[in-house]
Point group: D3
Chain length 335, copies 6
């Protein structure tokens, strides 16, 4: 229960167009364009030691996403920063001392024109900022950092950018679910789907970016048919700082199978190693040294033992993963 996660009783609050409302009230009308078209620009963040990580980068991307979708978002990046601060402060009393804040920031276009003024729901775009404990997303995942992911290539192809722009973080993501459904039928442990595009090039996971290491060089797909993740960008910067050469290429499954190391990046998990490709050991079949250097640098920079923190949060509640929503194992994103 979320309530046992918090220091004291009370209900989390969600920012909703200028007000703070209790979380159970953070609900959107069925007449909103968000529910009609998946018409939402969004971001999901995390904190380290309570401090939001790369918040400005997330918010700048949010503004660009809304611009692409022509959603008339009124707030500036600075105003968005203030709102996020306010939400975190408001919820802080409900968070455990060892919690991290995971912000969920949605921008919807609002009621469709034909419903406007008719259905007793305010019109205009909606800005919504929710805040919940990161542990919900990552608890029980510590073994992934030890055992590594088994990379699975689903039949579902990534939708290329010219048809649906993945660099615009939006809620048209049923293809992610379809890929995850396939992964759930794959006979392997710790399987994550890695999507290839119609050209057969590696793109991204269903909410994560992907890297390989080959001959001491860090490689990632050309940033085309993917979200250009903030974690991805940070890993590139870490590599530069550590003197690890980096290149973007047209990455192919063969490159993945013959890589020395591989890993996924995403906001809640930071970096998760992959140790096999379709069940066959990748490289030495263990978590690799360059991966370790990068995640250690990251942990050191943010003052949090990334994996240790997850381990400290304990096991997943056994009833959670699956049940009603077996195919969407996570809420997130390659932020």
């Amino acid at each position: 229960m979320s309530h046992t996660d918090s220091k004291r009783g009370g209900e989390r609050l969600v920012y909703w167009n200028g007000k703070l409302v209790p979380e159970p009230e953070a609900r959107l009308s069925i007449y909103d364009s968000a529910l009609m078209f998946g018409d939402v620009a969004f971001e999901m963040t995390r904190s380290f030691n309570g401090k939001q990580f790369k918040l400005r980068g997330h918010l700048e991307r949010l503004v660009a996403s809304a611009a692409w979708l022509r959603i008339p978002l009124r707030e500036t990046v600075e105003e968005l920063e203030s709102i996020c601060d306010e939400v975190v402060r408001a919820n802080e009393p409900l968070f455990a001392d060892d919690d991290e804040h995971r912000l969920l920031i949605n921008v919807t276009r609002g009621l469709l024109g034909i419903y406007d003024g008719r259905v007793n729901v305010p019109s205009g775009p909606n800005l919504i900022v929710a805040d919940f404990p990161l542990r919900w997303t990552v608890r029980g995942s510590e073994h992934l950092y030890r055992e590594g992911i088994d990379i699975f290539i689903p039949s579902q192809r990534m939708i290329p950018a010219q048809l649906l722009e993945p660099k615009v973080k939006n809620r048209n993501r049923i293809h992610y679910l379809m890929a995850n459904i396939e992964a759930s039928r794959y006979n392997g442990k710790n399987a994550w789907a890695l999507l290839v595009d119609p050209d057969g090039f590696v793109t991204e996971g269903t909410g994560s970016n992907f890297f390989i290491v080959k001959n001491g060089e860090l490689l990632s797909a050309e940033p085309r048919n993917m979200l250009r993740g903030i974690s991805r960008q940070y890993v590139i910067e870490l590599a530069a700082g550590l003197g690890i050469p980096f290149r973007e290429v047209n990455l192919e499954p063969y490159d993945v199978m013959t890589a020395d190391e591989a890993f996924f990046t995403c906001t809640p998990f930071c970096m998760v190693p992959a140790t096999s490709y379709l069940g066959r050991p990748l490289g030495a079949g263990t978590v690799g040294p360059i991966y370790r250097r990068l995640i250690d640098a990251w942990s050191s920079n943010v003052g949090v033992d990334i994996v240790g923190q997850i381990a400290g949060w304990g096991d997943a509640e056994t009833s959670k993963p699956g049940a009603a929503t077996p195919y969407s194992f996570t809420d997130d994103d390659n932020g």
Copy 2:
């Protein structure tokens, strides 16, 4: 105001997982998969003289859509029919005598697994049935039946079925909005976007199907990269009844430009004629005789003068079309 549309005061009711709730309460948690992934199977219907049209066909498609998306919808088609009846009866007192019932039926996967049990929102899939006056959607559109649509081909291409299956009616439809945004910048009157797929073949409008008439023959695109609309299917049946030959082909813009007639079909509008292609008269440049035969037969079969009814509902409220949501001119669909 919706309230002035109704015979008496009160609030419309929405079916929500077994209960009827007031329409303003018909809101979905931001943690629902629907808002995370556009993860909704849905249908929108209409009545003629208060009687739902082809309801069973809509509901069978809904079941197939949920099956494709692996949303564990529990209700059978028969149960869904009963629920729809119940919703219509509950709202009937609020509808004007000349109103038609437009049902909006949503099925969402429900809370993502990681939020399940934590955010004080019930888990499991959601079945939602709302009911509102059809006039909201179509009022002020009578001139389209006289003047005809100007067909506009946007740069946005239809997402092909192998990447996102449009035959599964779902809420991943940002590409429709992007096409409509382009149409809103096109310098022409009564412009509707007609999407071509990456092969350059004509597919559908942004919520409608499309037909042409050439040399007395009715032609429509192969039912591939489109929703297979129930109105589309009904037009095919009407044509058979009237002895108008019909074929499905790989339809191209050149065929459209050189057609004798053309029209769109969708649930709320039934059939809307197109009289020009990118501003150039199509055929005789007027509403065509085969179109007229078909819509007359339809009106006759359902006992409603389809265009006359819309005309009777008067002009659109001038403030409506656009404002907050300029690019989504309608709520619907090629049902």
Copy 3:
């Protein structure tokens, strides 16, 4: 052991460029183009009650395949028929009374030019005809006819005809193996891979053709990116005889999921029903009535209870399926 299958001792004989050689000697030099390029035109047949089925059709296709590949096959269709007869007669004493003859007919281009005259192997094209009991291929498969296949869509796409012509029956078929490897990792029972092409259209199984039934109509993919199977053609003829309407279409996975019935066709199995799609029941989830009419007509026409014969051959030897070659569950083909 094959020897226990036969009426009496002795070794099966294989036709090899005009001679009959013992089966263990039916081996091809590693310098043959067949082993260098997969450069073989071939056919595989079966008998009913000892009589070869549609042999002429197989041989005409073989001649066309060799012509496409520019392999200078010297024999006419008539001569090929005589050779096949000769092989069957020669092996007849070794076959059990209830055996059927499965012919394997290979045409290779022969030694590559640079080895010609150097490696002590005769030059020129090779014509090879082997004959073995059909039971090897089908024994232990009777349950498939009761339970039905679970259709699995692999990530591996069919190679389209313009890149590698599948209508030419040849030995470049590693993509079939890769698809089967994926199927072997799929968590489902009786799974057979159904390949889609790069356009997302259904093509064929890995050695079989595919049909669906929808609203009483028999549908199959346009005969483009597939072998045009002889069993497929026979089913089309059976349907015509039974008054079952048939059409070729651009078939899609959505059509498969929403079909009333589905089945695969191939030479050794004739027709195998599919009863689920990715684990979800297809139609009624049982073997369908149109399938039954077709296979009954087939059985009747050839005077063999097709399924009963397989059942009569008993269970598969447990050690067989897999071991050294786990991914290639069958030898054959949509012949």
Copy 4:
């Protein structure tokens, strides 16, 4: 005759699953997966002054190819090296003093499961290593080094990696033969096919890689739809050593036509210059200076005058090129 090439009588020996067998016995059962599916991972090498060149690189690629195809190759790279040494030593007495050893290393999956235990052929994967004089492949080709190749673009397109992975060296190569058949009908001298992929990008020859020189820079196609040849890699290293800048690009036929120089690389020929494009002189129309620097460095490094050695082996036997197998002018590969 091969026998006249050798120092003394006797028969070459081929390694076959742990034994050495006489070359005419190096034959594979028609029931082997190799003959059923082109299901072979392979390598072909050469020596310089009797010393194998980059053998380890070849063998590491062989292991990766088998891994991709899921052929359970049991030998390690080190064991494969020993086996190759053993084969060379065993055949050494049969080679002329000026011969070089060309190894042919095949790994097949072995008998298909259904034949296993039935056809009197051992089961399990096969490892085969043959050894023959390089002169068979290259004799009579010295004029190519003087006159240069005329680059021909066939209609046959390269099969892209996502459909059939060319970086996995395997025997599904009928598309190479089809391209060579086209080249044999092209009205030009010394024509070699250069394949473009479905995007129109230059990929590779039918068993060779390809480079151009433009403005002093060495350019090659992005290593995508091609075998990543060991000779190609060596040329890149040679260029680095000589200070010649190198880049991988999306290479197009226009780049080829407007290049200053061009050449093919492959194991038996090392580097062959191209001097015309579809019959029109390329650059100066003669063998270029950067090509010369590279092949001179190569010759120097390996202590063999590469072209001189070929010239020394004399003319091709006139009856050889063609006859039974006119379209497969060579046995090999961009090794």
Copy 5:
């Protein structure tokens, strides 16, 4: 020399925007959009016994082509007919008794705007109608009707309709020339290029349409990436009259190779048989019976022995075919 073709001296006249000008004056300014962009809608026709064939069909297509290109052609189809009549009458005295009239009808957009009023050339669109003896195009081709065409597939692909609409008859046809250049390097007799599109489907020749006959049925490509030729349409009508079944399909090279008959259609040649595919006999390797029935019916309908007339015009002048323009063997078109 054209002068020797005519009954008496004098110069042919060309219609030019309302005037008749001598043929050598029928020249277009280098500043015309026609020369800047290949921006010309056009038609080429022929007569039988002096009577224009299907002139109205040609002119209707011309009007559609101009409409697609948004060239503001002012003349109606009826006015265009009158102009064509006028041109034929004006030139009649210069034609030999056995000549047929080949009209060349061009519509250009006229001077680019920036040159308008500056370069001493009239502005506005140009309508040009020339008239010359058909024998120029077809003389010396009689052997093609006896020997048949050898079908050649070039590397150049057809540009698909969504990129450049071939159903709009226009002068952007360099891809035809590039295909013809390839055919000129092909080592075969009577070779005509048959273009496949990027999907590998057969489209058209470089100025002709294409049919095959298989099992008594006439087949042609779906009318997509091709000009929908008037001769093609006429053959379809002839087949209907003769009771020959006809279907449009996604035609592939394999279908061509395995056809019983094949032929090209175009305005000047009407129907030319193909008797081989890449040098290999097609069907019986001779001119086929269904082809003969069709061309006989055509000859009969128009009162001209089509092949006999060409034979009567004698051999080509030896110096003609090639010289300055070797690759464009004909002027025309699948009209």
Copy 6:
């Protein structure tokens, strides 16, 4: 009127196969391959202070274009330079003191073979060099340099190089016109079409190349589906001189929308800034600093204030832009 532009009376002269003819006589026979196939290799240049800019680069490209098209151009680059000089000298007296010379250099294949010797027009390829004042093209465009272009993405896709090679400067450019026609219907000011290719990548304008600036780095599309413009190349050199980093990438519309600056390059305009993308401000929405540094350097290097010169030439004559040829706003090219 052109005559009022010149210092004195007289008519401009055009080089035509060795002669200088008056401009109104610079007309091409309707039987020329240029008019039949858009079969012209060409270049358009400009001078600064009367001195031709990068003339040699233009002529080298012309020679390559003719080679690709297999037009047997006889002149060497040096001879072409002399001819251009001669044309400029001959026309100099007719140019105003502040005029710049815009050369138009066409190479056509000449009469089609079938007309050769028949239509009283010389045979063989034509070399044509015209010379007119640059002000015709650019006058009245000064506001573009202040206000910037609004980038418009048309539905028309760029034809990729493998179907029609845009690096070969030729007259098959109807797709440019079709894109411009779309732009003319777009409801925005200063709109220029920016074409994407079938992969959705940015290519070029309709006669211009395109750059963006992002985080201080200059980016341009990989030089694939575009003319490799001489102005583009010069900007790359200018950037190198100014220390501005430059990279070629697979550029996408999202990159354009999120760029800091953007601009087009072409010969007559040199560099034109873009300040919005589909009506939304791009970067700061004003002409950017890196653009200014580049154009200032260019102006300085050539000794001409590029924008000032255009401003000095005054407004466009109001009747010019449009009228007969509304869709082809300019004559040129990304030279």
